[in-house]
């Protein structure tokens, strides 16, 4: 599937009707999702026939895209019932039947879980930690790295790049900034003064040095 077609098809993914501010709910735009997923597959071959995890899947944009690009199966995780309901609607609409969902609190996972190194690839657009939940992006990242065998693909504020680089070094994982994106957050929440807000975001690939890839 070509990039343009992927983006076009992802336009049809339903979003949150009433996004919850405190959970930092906003959909990954079809444009960003398509570029992310297309790169992950065409450049790194980390989606097709792979077991993919989507942490903080929200309305399922990344999971739907992963299914469109031929993942073996995908498991999405989110804390919010409403978001998960939107996911189900999307899977039905796109007739996707190889994605499963789990409602849980990712930040509550410990290292005792059976998810350790289960997924080939983890893909996520985690909360950035801007709503009384500072540091949550690193918690998501730590969990993702525990759950993935080959690679973790994630979006993080460019402003946190140095901090993440240091953490990656401490954790012994390889960090590669694949691209810098301008994340355009539309005025999703009523208190946003401007029509939209641009944040600089890094699209990052984390991998494990002892593995071949």
């Amino acid at each position: 599937m070509k990039l343009k077609e992927l983006e076009s098809r992802l336009q049809g993914v339903d979003h949150f009707e009433e996004p919850k501010i405190l959970l930092e709910q906003y959909p990954t735009s079809p444009h960003i999702a398509a570029h992310m997923l297309y790169t992950i597959q065409s450049h790194y071959d980390d989606i097709e026939d792979k077991l993919v995890g989507d942490l903080g899947c929200g309305c399922g944009m990344l999971s739907v895209g992963a299914a469109m690009l031929g993942c073996g199966a995908c498991i999405g995780f989110d804390i919010d019932s409403y978001a998960l309901d939107v996911c189900l609607r999307n899977f039905e609409e796109f007739e996707i039947n190889n994605i499963d969902l789990v409602q849980c609190d990712i930040t509550g996972f410990n290292t005792n879980t059976r998810w350790h190194k289960t997924f080939d690839t983890v893909i996520m657009n985690p909360p950035f930690g801007t709503k009384h939940n500072k540091g949550i992006d690193m918690v998501f990242l730590e969990q993702a790295l525990s759950m993935a065998q080959t690679a973790v693909y994630s979006l993080h504020k460019t402003a946190t790049r140095e901090h993440i680089q240091k953490k990656s070094y401490d954790w012994g994982v390889k960090m590669e900034v694949i691209a810098e994106l301008r994340y355009n957050l539309p005025a999703t929440y009523k208190f946003h003064k401007h029509k939209s807000v641009d944040i600089q975001v890094d699209f990052v690939r984390f991998s494990f040095p002892n593995k071949k890839r």
Partner: protein, 126 residues
């Protein structure tokens, strides 16, 4: 909830629970659908599974069929076996029901095929 997913779910995030696996399934609605068969993918998933727990789970909801309870050597090239494994792993879904922690008896609801693993604050093991 597919049985692939069920095989990964544990309740040892609960205070006082040591292993919390496997979770017992009490299903009120099970759905079977057709999912595209990808033999290489299934062959790679099998080593990740706790096989006896998978069979136990399938059996408890009447979906074991003739899936062998022990893995034969060279199962990776046995397409008939892989097809049966595929069926149990991906085509069977618990839509409504409960998962029960084997140690504490705590129940987790499955609604619309989604298991709810959220805990109350007092339950979380620190």
């Amino acid at each position: 909830m597919k049985l692939l997913t069920h095989n990964m779910l544990t309740s040892n995030i609960i205070k006082g629970v040591t292993k919390g696996f496997p979770l017992k399934i009490a299903a009120s609605e099970v759905k079977v659908s057709e999912v595209d068969f990808n033999p290489e993918f299934i062959a790679r998933m099998i080593p990740k599974m706790e096989w006896s727990a998978l069979c136990q789970a399938a059996e408890s909801i009447g979906q074991l069929g003739d899936l062998p309870k022990e893995l034969a050597p060279e199962y990776e090239s046995d397409e008939e076996f892989l097809k049966k494994a595929h069926h149990v792993l991906l085509e069977v879904e618990v839509k409504e029901g409960e998962l029960i922690c084997p140690e504490s008896g705590r129940k987790f609801t499955i609604r619309n095929g989604i298991p709810n693993m959220l805990l109350n604050e007092e339950e979380v093991a620190k």
